[in-house]
């Protein structure tokens, strides 16, 4: 993949199928100030001057299942095939900060991703993979600080210092409260944990992307595109404000923030959303937060096609849906893309379905010609008007959130949750009343028996993971672990940076669940208000 990914821009290469030359950029001689040109403030038309002409987006498909060995084997296979980036999916107990042997983990160990309880699991996950040479994306939020610590220690044991680690931590806890609902601590302490991490990474991990501010899950939970745009950017502002409040220089950490958007069905609205996001963020970073580096103003983003648009009925149609969504993401200027597999409404993707999904991106990249010029849709009356309108609507939401006392206060009263639930219910009613057509679901239906190869996870793997954890606990020095845990408790109480004691406890062999429990003892747990 890497060879095709990076290429020098060579003017003569870009021609239509009829051999008409295609220029890098089309637009008026004197660009509209509001829209600008690609690679310049306010980045409406994209963050790179040459865009896909010099570098295609990264095709990053998500992997992770079963035990750390299983996922390790998968990673090594992918690397062997030329992939340079790894994307890790953790299982549900890990995402929620529980050890595999916690009673609440029953039935969920290794099912939706890989189980990581200990530093040894992390070492196994990346065994034989030189961590200074790959970039690793980890989809983890509530307990992100602990998984990051494990990753740092695993690298340390390979002889790789934190300065050399490249990758992305999702680490976007605000959208968990708003949409994805997988949290560990209440919102306020969670923000403190994140600022501790921001401070640590800013000092020690210059190549690490600290937060991937995610609209994806907000959209999946049923929001509209405008809500996805507004709520996600509002979360981003909240992180920036927290970083500034913690005494960090905005230009030291803002360049390491990135975004993660959904690519849904409404083609032009999606493209307008990405463009509006870039413009709103750039303006706010420059004018409100006083960022001076261009990189601080840029929205760099990953996109995933919308899982919630996949239908269980006539699942092959999903291939077409995914293709249009992928095209929207590319026309919107994404930096990396995950395309969903057609069978995801039914179960974890089969190998064949996953391959088709990847091939879909490759068709967009190499056959459609949309990568030949930068921002081919820029200047479209409809698109520019829609972009302006989405910006206005988002600004309206920002004012509403401010009036409610900011993002966290709005979360605590269930404001976002209610807005999203209302949108989701309205959408469902429109589908049921056939005011909105979903092909195969409320129109063009077929009598069918749904037959798709489903990937089954071997349930015995759960027992393997429990045995591994037991054996790990038996081998470590429990006195040392207790002392290290006490240090985490103290830091939680006093407010000193949590990263050093967590790194120490990880080295001593404290498990994920044990560290979480100590922190939970100080920070408490969270129940969201029930809103409808």
């Amino acid at each position: 993949m890497s060879k095709m990914n990076k290429r020098r821009e060579e003017q003569e290469r870009y021609r239509t199928l009829s051999d008409i030359p295609v220029d890098r950029l089309y637009g008026p001689e004197k660009p509209d100030e509001k829209i600008g040109i690609p690679g310049s403030y306010p980045f409406t038309r994209g963050i790179h001057e040459t865009m896909y002409r010099s570098r295609l987006w990264t095709m990053r498909q998500f992997a992770g299942f079963g035990t750390p060995e299983d996922t390790n084997a998968r990673f090594r296979y992918l690397l062997q095939k030329g992939q340079t980036g790894l994307s890790t999916a953790f299982d549900m107990p890990t995402l929620m900060g529980y050890d595999s042997d916690d009673p609440i983990s029953l039935g969920e160990v290794g099912v939706e991703g890989v189980a990581v309880d200990t530093i040894e699991d992390m070492e196994t996950l990346f065994a034989g993979i030189p961590l200074d040479q790959v970039s690793t994306s980890m989809t983890i939020n509530g307990p992100a600080i602990l998984l990051l610590a494990m990753y740092i220690v695993a690298a340390e044991r390979q002889g790789v210092p934190p300065e050399k680690l490249r990758g992305t931590l999702q680490n976007d806890i605000l959208k968990e409260y708003i949409a994805q609902k997988e949290w560990v601590f209440p919102p306020r302490p969670s923000m403190r944990v994140i600022t501790d991490m921001l401070a640590y990474c800013t000092e020690h991990m210059p190549l690490w992307n600290t937060i991937s501010i995610s609209g994806y899950h907000i959209r999946e939970a049923g929001s509209t595109a405008v809500q996805e745009l507004a709520f996600t950017l509002a979360d981003g502002f909240a992180y920036v404000e927290a970083g500034i409040e913690a005494g960090l220089d905005v230009d030291d950490f803002a360049p390491r923030l990135s975004f993660f958007w959904n690519a849904h069905n409404d083609f032009f609205e999606e493209i307008a959303k990405y463009r509006a996001a870039r413009r709103i963020w750039a303006k706010r970073m420059k004018n409100v937060y006083g960022a001076k580096k261009e990189r601080s103003w840029m929205v760099r983003f990953h996109t995933q096609t919308a899982g919630c648009t996949l239908t269980a009925q006539q699942p092959e149609i999903n291939i077409a849906r995914v293709a249009y969504q992928a095209l929207a993401a590319v026309l919107g200027g994404t930096q990396s893309l995950h395309t969903n597999s057609m069978d995801e409404a039914l179960a974890l993707p089969s190998e064949k379905a996953a391959k088709i999904a990847l091939r879909t991106q490759q068709v967009v990249a190499h056959e459609t010609g949309v990568t030949n010029t930068v921002d081919p849709l820029g200047g479209s009356y409809f698109l520019e008007s829609l972009t302006d309108r989405m910006e206005e609507e988002a600004e309206r939401y920002f004012r509403e959130i401010d009036e409610r006392g900011g993002v966290i206060a709005a979360i605590e009263e269930g404001y976002f949750q209610k807005e999203i639930a209302d949108s989701a219910y309205q959408y469902q009613r429109e589908v049921e009343k056939e005011e909105r057509i979903v092909v195969g679901v409320n129109a063009y239906k077929e009598d069918e028996k749904i037959e798709i190869d489903l990937l089954h996870i071997d349930r015995e793997k759960q027992t393997d993971q429990l045995k591994r954890l037991q054996s790990f606990r038996a081998r470590r020095n429990n006195d040392e672990v207790d002392q290290a845990l006490a240090a985490i408790r103290k830091a939680s109480e006093t407010g000193e940076n949590l990263m050093p004691p967590i790194l120490d406890a990880t080295r001593k062999g404290a498990t994920l669940g044990e560290m979480v429990n100590v922190m939970r003892g100080v920070f408490g747990t969270y129940r969201e208000p029930a809103v409808f």
């Binding site: 605590e412 129940r527 208000p529 809103v531 409808f532």
Partner: protein
């Protein structure tokens, strides 16, 4: 209580639905009531009532009290459906705790309370609860219902509910034995608390009691000892003044009246010929020969021999 949970819950359904046997059941249970102290919690939507209640329940339970909770939410007047979400707040209590939570829909009752809230409280009381808490949205006329059904009424407000307080002053201010200003970390909380105190000084005292105002954050869980103390002192006041006993008599009086009203109403409409007479009267009204007032007067005279 363990094994009786199922029976208690079923009894509540029986009573709530007004099923045959409900009156007998309540009759048998009545002698065992009178032990539980009843607290009502009301306030505008968004004041954080359920967070407050769940904290309060946790505190009471830790102090060794058995606690019953009745959480009332409105039913839709159109579909009669209801979404009852207050339980979410109680899911973290230990599994073996002596806490029983029941969600009730108002089922068309005009106030914020369901018709049978008092009876359901009786069942919890008879089941051995030390404290019974009734939580309800304080909108419209419901405040009075709450106050009548419990011993101590707590009105929960937030700094943002300033305008609502103005609007509901008449209702809320008169029924609160205790006022909680929740979300004390928000702007204007202190000022709100002082404002309520000022307003209370101007209101006539009920049961010779000047309500206390407690400023707290239910989310953070601070100042709950203060709240418990305030409840306790209102309770002592009611006990010492004899108002507690009087309240029980009052409750019994209105319960008897309600039962008799219901019975008479039912008997009346079951009387032979009443409905036919009503139909006739309606025809006459339609023809312009009568009015609802004279029709009612005639029907009552004819079937009860007197004027209602």
């Amino acid at each position: 209580m363990g094994g009786d949970r199922v029976a208690l819950a079923r009894a509540m359904t029986l009573v709530e639905n007004g099923s045959p046997g409900a009156a007998d059941l309540l009759d048998r249970v009545y002698p065992r009531t009178g032990h539980a102290y009843r607290i009502g919690i009301t306030g505008p939507p968004g004041a954080g009532k359920s967070t407050l209640v769940s904290r309060l329940v946790g505190e009471l339970w830790k102090g060794g009290s058995k606690v019953g909770v009745v959480a009332v939410d409105p039913s839709s007047p159109f579909t009669r459906g209801a979404l009852l979400g207050d339980r979410v707040r109680f899911q973290d209590l230990p599994d073996n705790s002596d806490v029983f939570v029941r969600s009730m829909a108002s089922r068309g009752s005009s106030g914020g309370l369901a018709f049978k809230t008092g009876e359901v409280c009786d069942l919890l009381d008879a089941a051995g609860m030390d404290t019974v808490i009734v939580e309800t949205v304080g909108v419209g006329q419901s405040e009075l219902d709450v106050a009548a059904a419990v011993h101590t009424t707590i009105v929960v407000l937030v700094p943002e509910s300033g305008d609502e307080v103005q609007a509901m002053k008449a209702g809320l201010m008169e029924i609160g034995d205790l006022f909680v200003v929740n979300k004390s970390d928000r702007l204007g909380a202190e000022r709100m608390a002082r404002g309520i105190e000022d307003m209370l000084r101007l209101s006539p005292a009920r049961h010779d009691w000047i309500p206390t105002v407690v400023l707290l954050s239910a989310l953070r869980g601070d100042r709950f000892p203060e709240l418990l103390e305030a409840i306790e002192s209102h309770r002592s006041h009611l006990e010492e003044s004899g108002d507690l006993a009087e309240l029980k008599t009052e409750t019994a009086r209105s319960r008897i009246r309600d039962l008799i009203d219901a019975c008479i109403r039912q008997q009346f409409w079951a009387t032979d010929g009443v409905n036919e007479q009503l139909d006739k009267a309606l025809e006459l009204i339609a023809a312009g020969g009568s009015s609802p007032y004279s029709a009612a007067d005639e029907i009552i005279k004819k079937f009860t021999g007197g004027r209602g």
